[in-house]
């Protein structure tokens, strides 16, 4: 199992993803600098969280012009696994590998907290070992995480089972009170139609290390590993 983690200037969860994949899960990991023009033979590409290019213009908007993104796009189009976390999700919608967009949080404030999310699709490579409707504690930390898509786009997401995570409370209730940022239908993560590209606002790497108390996030890394190694 080998990950490639893309580093843009301003990425800041790159090291966290590296630490979890390598030190906790025991997988092989290589960083790929955004100016590089080749990936390093990955099974899965991680586009980590952070503020690529300072989020100037718009979160994720400039990162899509980095040379390495052409490689990530063709890797994804050939069925390779790509996971974008937080800012990585924003980069994926900007590059159109995923539909929709991420608006500013309804509160207009940055929000960092533990957050429950329900796994509503457990047939993706990223969630296949997780029981459907299981509630995971996966923290959020973003200013623009308010998922939006037009009616047709939403229908298409629903028809193709592309919604993977929805914000909820500990008991799994999905409603306005359990929606931290105003996302349409409490959407926290989606996949593309083929199911090989995942974007999620919550940070699974932040609840993977037992030292920090919660290990729900490990489920995502374990799913990817089992999918790749089967």
């Amino acid at each position: 199992m080998k990950y490639n983690i893309i580093i843009f200037p301003g990425s800041n969860c790159d090291y966290d993803a590296y630490f979890v994949a390598k030190d906790l899960m025991g997988d092989e990991v290589e960083y790929v600098w955004h100016k590089e023009t080749n990936l390093k033979d990955p099974d899965c590409v991680i586009i980590p969280g952070g503020f690529s290019y300072g989020d100037y213009l718009r979160a994720g908007a400039i990162a899509k012009f980095s040379p390495i993104m052409n490689e990530v796009i063709s890797f994804a189009k050939n069925g390779g696994l790509v996971i974008g976390i937080c800012n990585g999700f924003q980069v994926l919608t900007e590059t159109k590998l995923l539909p929709g967009t991420l608006l500013q949080n309804k509160s207009l404030l940055f929000i960092c907290k533990h957050q429950y999310a329900k796994v509503v699709n457990s047939s993706t490579p990223f969630t296949h070992i997780i029981e459907k409707d299981r509630v995971l504690d996966i923290p959020i930390a973003h200013n623009e995480g308010n998922f939006f898509i037009d009616d047709d786009g939403l229908k298409s997401l629903q028809d193709n089972q592309q919604i993977v995570f929805q914000y909820c409370d500990k008991e799994g209730h999905i409603n306005d009170n359990t929606n931290p940022n105003g996302s349409l239908l409490n959407i926290a993560g989606i996949v593309n139609k083929k199911g090989n590209v995942l974007g999620m606002m919550p940070h699974p790497e932040r609840t993977s290390d037992p030292i920090c108390g919660v290990t729900d996030g490990q489920q995502i890394f374990l799913s990817i590993k089992k999918f790749v190694e089967k």
Partner: protein, 740 residues
């Protein structure tokens, strides 16, 4: 180009007649305008510490764990074993934040981060200590919003978690909020970088953002009182770019790690002037630079403006000529420019040129603290307000009719209420080391690659310092140590941020010197030296000075991260025990302020020997695995501490307290005193705990048990814990949403 140096010009530069005479005798002639500007910023209070240094030197500044003593470098460095060390420091950005809260606070964070990473340390956590006026004032809400967003946007973009801090609201801070930012970094012993320009012939490099006119005279601006005209000085506030700083951080740590740097210093207050003269003075060398080589973002900037600009995200490096190519390669990888602007010389002068022509030529030693910059002894006078405050008779206050209502009022007071409105705006989890998250006594941050962790906290009760500066400052150190102990740590060292009014006012200076005395006594006692910090005077508006506020930032070590302990009760049926005495005073308490609108009486006193015994008991009990939670009793007294222990974020619990009251109930329940810790413990472990308590011969009291959802104290208080939690958790949010 060079105007005549008139009396008006000298006064505008904040220099006294005597100081000007001294400049004349140093140079043997009238200064050029550029030289006048350089002296002005270097001899300003902010850079020279001229009115505080004699006091500060009385603080304990060395200790067995210190690798770099205070004042030796940009930040103190403390050994934590395994070849690792901690660099940490706190700094104020009060005046900029009063005028432009967002940029003022943001650049405060940027500055302290640079101080730490120019030492070669990777920042692992930030904290902040904030003070504002009453939240009922719309202007204060605007300040709070802006300051918090400024801190959040900067720290979040940098990917450095903001893990702890404190916020107080009191009228004394209304026109002059306090914004103190602290950063903690980790480095390997061999990577400690120095801020000195060694090696004649070495290159002086400029890296980072280009220089603009922003922030010119920021240091002198920070050295006067705020008045109505201050708003016109808004251009003295710098503008931050955290993205640029993130690039600078990565590139700079890389050049330091590769051993390519002889010396390095951040261009913070007084920008290029301060960094170049201090680096030269420290090495006993000179520096010869040409401002025409400095990258600029505006046209037509004079040497005066370039030297005094406080544009952010810039650093000065000294390197050996042979390494220039490698250094350039690293910075250019991060799209940063590296420009050689001069060389190290042997004559000891700061020489500034423009297109080769000398525009300033000053012996560097005469500019700097520890060199020949002025040092003053200030007069003190016992403040007249204290007599009235101390004559207050607490017994004259009526006992509350309804204790439930009093508790609810206290929990909703912004000084006691949850600060989640603030800390959820900070990314406090990035880097996945936050073992104890914001909200508990101290944050605990794991150190990867070891079993260790650091505990960190900021503490200061301004009301106590107002009522008794000596005991207040002593108590701030004691409370910080208690918070570290309660979280499982062992206190190591402190950094301080001394926020006071105008030092030329004798009463203000008396509070300053008393605070230093109290802090010194406590730090010597706990063997927690002061590794560095910052003095901020002139925190006054037309109305009055702020409370004396000597903020303490303390770090402690957990030799095993598993010792990390929170303040939260864990299981129903566990026994709740108070370590320490019962309280018999309400002087300076939040209860007195909230219920009777009085800031009066005597501040709680700390008996250091007793304090240490209480701390030792808690320290041992945690190491023997006896207790499940530990919480310092502070603002709001015993009952508030009990309620806070019930507010476990993983699930609320109640408490059933049946305690013997020996004083008037409201005083015992809501009064504030030092040296008290609430612990919860499984019943079977009580004998082992009592054995430790007996060894130290300390008082304790079994208060009751952790319960389901009721919060019950004898027959006086009975509330639903969910209701209390809601009041406490949402109080600040509700205040912010109320249109006043």
């Amino acid at each position: 180009m060079n105007p005549e140096i008139s009396d008006e010009l000298i006064e505008e530069h904040g220099l006294s007649k005597e100081e000007y005479k001294r400049i004349f005798s140093i140079l043997g002639r009238d200064p050029t305008i550029t030289e006048l500007g350089i002296f002005s910023v270097m001899w300003s209070e902010h850079a020279s510490y001229k009115n505080s240094i004699l006091q500060i030197k009385t603080l304990p500044r060395s200790g067995e764990y210190l690798l770099k003593d205070a004042g030796e470098e940009n930040a103190g460095v403390v050994d934590i074993g395994d070849g690792l060390a901690v660099a940490f420091k706190i700094e104020s950005h009060n005046h900029p934040s009063a005028l432009e809260p967002y940029q003022g606070a943001a650049t405060g964070v940027g500055g302290i981060l640079r101080d730490v990473f120019t030492m070669g340390a990777r920042p692992i956590a930030s904290l902040n200590s904030l003070r504002f006026g009453s939240l009922d004032n719309p202007r204060v809400k605007h300040l709070l919003k802006g300051v918090v967003k400024g801190i959040a946007d900067y720290g979040n973009c940098m990917g450095i978690p903001t893990v702890a801090g404190e916020i107080y609201f009191d009228d004394s801070y209304e026109g002059n909020p306090l914004v103190n930012a602290m950063t903690v970094g980790i480095l390997k012993h061999e990577n400690i970088a120095t801020a000195a320009a060694y090696g004649v012939g070495n290159f002086v490099l400029y890296v980072g953002s280009s220089t603009g006119r922003d922030g010119i005279h920021g240091a002198t601006f920070a050295s006067v009182e705020l008045t109505e005209e201050s708003a016109e000085k808004r251009t003295s506030v710098q503008v931050g770019d955290p993205f640029m700083e993130k690039l600078l951080l990565e590139a700079t740590l890389d050049v330091i790690k590769q051993n390519l740097v002889v010396g390095i210093q951040d261009m913070g207050a007084a920008g290029l002037t301060c960094s170049s003269s201090e680096m030269a003075a420290k090495a006993g060398t000179g520096v010869d630079i040409d401002v025409s080589l400095v990258p600029k973002r505006e046209k037509g900037m004079t040497p005066y403006e370039v030297m005094l600009s406080e544009s952010q995200e810039r650093m000065l490096l000294v390197i050996e000529p042979k390494n220039f190519g490698k250094v350039q390669e690293i910075y250019e990888k991060w799209d940063l420019h590296v420009v050689k602007i001069g060389e190290v010389t042997e004559d000891g002068n700061l020489r500034v040129r423009e297109n080769g022509i000398v525009v300033a030529d000053i012996p560097a030693q005469t500019l700097v603290l520890g060199g020949e910059a002025p040092v003053y002894v200030r007069e003190t006078q016992y403040p007249s307000y204290l007599e009235k405050a101390h004559s207050f008779d607490e017994k004259s206050m009526n006992e509350p009719k309804d204790y439930n209502q009093t508790l609810k009022k206290l929990l909703s007071s912004p000084n006691i209420a949850s600060k989640n409105y603030v800390y959820t705006q900070y990314d406090h989890m990035v880097r996945i080391n936050s073992v104890v998250e914001p909200g508990s006594d101290a944050a605990v941050v794991r150190i990867k690659g070891t079993n260790k962790a650091l505990a960190m906290t900021t503490d200061c009760n301004g009301k106590y310092c107002y009522l008794d500066p000596y005991e207040g400052a002593k108590g701030a150190v004691a409370e910080a140590a208690r918070n570290i102990i309660c979280s499982g740590g062992k206190p190591l060292a402190i950094t301080n941020c001394l926020n006071f009014g105008n030092p030329y006012k004798k009463e203000v200076y008396w509070t300053f010197s008393e605070c230093i005395r109290g802090m010194g006594d406590a730090c010597r006692f706990f063997k927690t030296p002061v590794t560095g910090g910052n003095v901020s005077f002139y925190n006054e508006t037309v109305k009055s000075a702020v409370y004396p506020t000597p903020t303490i930032g303390m770090i402690g070590i957990l030799e095993d991260v598993k010792l990390a302990t929170t303040q939260y009760f864990k299981d129903i049926g566990d026994v709740i025990i108070l370590l320490g005495k019962s309280c018999n005073t309400i002087g300076g308490s939040e209860y007195l302020a909230v219920e009777y609108s009085e800031i009066a009486g005597h501040a709680p006193k700390v008996e250091l020997e007793h304090e240490q015994k209480i701390q030792n008991i808690c320290y041992k009990a945690i190491r023997e695995g006896l207790i499940k939670s530990a919480h310092d009793c502070s603002e709001g007294g015993l009952v508030t501490a009990l309620a806070e222990s019930c507010f476990n974020p993983k699930g609320l619990l109640g408490a059933n307290i049946e305690m013997e009251l020996t004083h008037r109930p409201d005083i015992e329940l809501f009064g504030e005193a030092h040296s008290r810790i609430i612990v919860s413990i499984e019943e079977k472990n009580i004998p082992s705990l009592i054995k430790i308590i007996k060894k130290y011969n300390c008082p304790y009291q079994i208060l009751g048990k952790v319960a389901g959802h009721r919060f019950q104290i004898d027959k006086l208080i009975s509330c639903d814990i969910n209701e209390l939690y809601d009041l406490w958790y949402n109080a600040i949010q509700r205040k912010m949403e109320t249109v006043s």
